[in-house]
């Protein structure tokens, strides 16, 4: 009798074991002990992924975020610093809350190498960190060599880009403040795709607003390699015509090939040279350097191909790439809001994969992008991108999305609140 009970108990325990295993592998969402996700890059994409892997796993998955900067400085809204209506402090958020509130292990360092076979990343300071899942969100690398003389002109501090918000943002503002009235600010735009499609036009608007208030004899030139304004075109052009006539000039189809730092001159493929007091030259862009070095930029050597349902690289298993570095789906902008959205879909996919749960069969992404045309008026573009499992890509939902009817003060309030809320959603 006792023996029979023992046998029954063993069988029952055996079935518990196999059932638990079965459930762990298919339906329960049980996470293996010490599962670790390493995220490289603490921008909109990476910081959001780090926080949401913690949240969506009910704080069961360890997350290491590797980021060289001490604090997050937002690219969206950084044009307001250049225009003079906001300060660097206004657009800066520390990483503290990711650690204290969400238990993310924030490591201040660069990643010097990725070994997708051994599943480790190596830090610039030496140590290696093992991962179960790696997320690369390194943003963009400026291709300085695409414009002759630009690398040296940037290194000397004379010709800035300020296309990653930080010290260059403050320095570009200083160049404008130091410029005499009657001077010229010229911004050049590379062919799309590049980070933040409306960003250059917003920046030009901000500088024109500053000149109109403080240096009315000065001029803004936009030299665009594209055929026309690439985002919010009619809205920008109408506002420029109504408000910056005689101050701002838009010149399409001008592709910069070289800069002469001695004479502050831009050279083009076809047209005559252009001289300016302050030059803001944006070269072509590609995926952040760690993604390129790791062999993940498999689309024209510039952007990283991903499986859009999970953002897993098409090049390396268990390596996900998000944000501005990816080869985008049709009509998907390279924006901070979009990177935050990528981060959430990726975090959910990783939690599902590490828990042996089904991956969301139909994720969707939203994007809302505000541009300040002066210090008080804003225009937006919005879109919704639904994953199509048949074509394995995102498609904008027909009839959804769109632009502002006109610039408005109301949208300026929403735009600044958007920034406050997305910074909190990403970092706090």
């Amino acid at each position: 009798m006792k023996r029979r009970h023992f046998v029954q108990a063993s069988l029952a325990l055996g079935s518990i074991g196999s059932l638990a295993t079965l459930m762990g592998c298919s339906t329960t969402g049980r996470i293996p002990e010490k599962a670790r996700v390493v995220v490289v890059g603490g921008g909109y994409g990476g910081a959001t992924t780090a926080k949401y892997v913690r949240m969506l796993s009910n704080y069961q998955i360890d997350v290491v975020l590797i980021e060289p900067d001490a604090a997050f400085v937002s690219c969206p809204m950084s044009n307001l610093v250049i225009g003079g209506s906001k300060t660097m402090a206004d657009i800066t958020t520390p990483y503290d809350n990711l650690s204290s509130k969400h238990g993310v292990n924030v490591v201040r360092d660069y990643v010097s190498g990725v070994d997708a076979t051994k599943k480790t990343v190596t830090l610039a300071s030496g140590p290696s960190i093992r991962y179960d899942k790696l997320v690369l969100s390194p943003g963009i690398e400026l291709m300085f060599n695409s414009i002759e003389g630009l690398k040296q002109a940037n290194a000397s501090g004379q010709i800035l880009q300020a296309w990653k918000a930080g010290p260059e943002t403050a320095n570009l503002r200083k160049q404008l403040v130091d410029m005499p009235d009657g001077g010229v600010f010229a911004i050049s735009i590379p062919e799309a795709p590049y980070r933040c499609p409306p960003g250059p036009y917003e920046r030009a608007s901000q500088v024109a607003h500053y000149f109109k208030q403080s240096k009315p004899k000065s001029k803004v030139l936009i030299l665009d390699a594209n055929q026309d304004v690439t985002s919010k075109g009619p809205l920008f052009k109408k506002f420029w015509a109504d408000n910056y006539k005689g101050i701002l000039e838009y010149i399409p189809q001008h592709n910069v090939t070289a800069v002469d730092a001695k004479t502050n001159t831009l050279k083009f493929e076809v047209q005559n040279d252009v001289k300016a007091n302050v030059l803001n030259v944006l070269p072509a862009m590609r995926a952040g350097s760690i993604a390129v070095q790791s062999g993940l930029a498999n689309a024209n050597g510039r952007w990283c191909g991903v499986n859009y349902q999970t953002f897993e690289s098409t090049q390396a298993k268990d390596v996900h790439v998000i944000g501005d570095s990816i080869m985008p789906a049709p009509a998907m902008p390279k924006s901070g809001h979009m990177a935050n959205s990528h981060g959430k879909v990726t975090a959910a996919a990783i939690v599902a994969q590490l828990s042996d749960l089904a991956i969301n069969p139909e994720p969707f992404l939203t994007n809302t992008c505000y541009s300040f045309v002066n210090d008080k008026y804003v225009v937006h573009v919005a879109s919704v991108h639904q994953y199509d499992s048949k074509d394995k890509t995102y498609k904008t939902v027909p009839g959804s999305g769109g632009l502002s009817a006109a610039p408005s003060e109301l949208e300026a309030i929403y735009a600044w609140n958007w920034a406050q809320n997305i910074w909190a959603d990403t970092l706090r």
């Binding site: 762990g24 049980r30 969506l56 959430k344 969301n360 919005a382 919704v384 609140n417 958007w418 997305i422």
Partner: protein, 108 residues
């Protein structure tokens, strides 16, 4: 005696199963619902809670029926908006229901 032992064993089995799967347990459906709802958080704050002083409203704890009605009113144009009429047109009625259910279940 015999049946008591069986009862104990099945209770034990149940408890052990409960323990072994209670750790970090969640369903795929709940995970997907929460992640989809997080698409609102970019503007409406993590878990639907906006920062202090935000003109964009918090949506956590909002009654489901109310939220569904507002989202549909944005979608059909009967409630004017700056951006929500454009975003809701990208969502199916089922997605709206799921998002509203999620935020209604969140405490303020």
């Amino acid at each position: 005696m015999h049946s008591f032992a069986r009862f104990s064993l099945s209770t034990f089995t149940f408890l052990l199963l409960g323990l072994s799967t209670g750790y970090a347990q969640q369903s795929a459906t709940a995970l997907h619902q929460r992640a989809n709802a997080a698409m609102c958080a970019n503007c409406h704050g993590s878990e639907g809670k906006t920062v202090d002083g935000s003109a964009v409203p918090s949506i956590n704890g909002m009654p489901k029926d109310y939220m569904v009605l507002q989202m549909k009113a944005f979608k059909d144009g009967s409630r004017p908006a700056t951006v929500m009429h454009q975003l809701t047109k990208g969502l199916t009625d089922a997605q709206i229901e799921s998002i509203a259910s999620y935020y209604a279940s969140n405490k303020r």
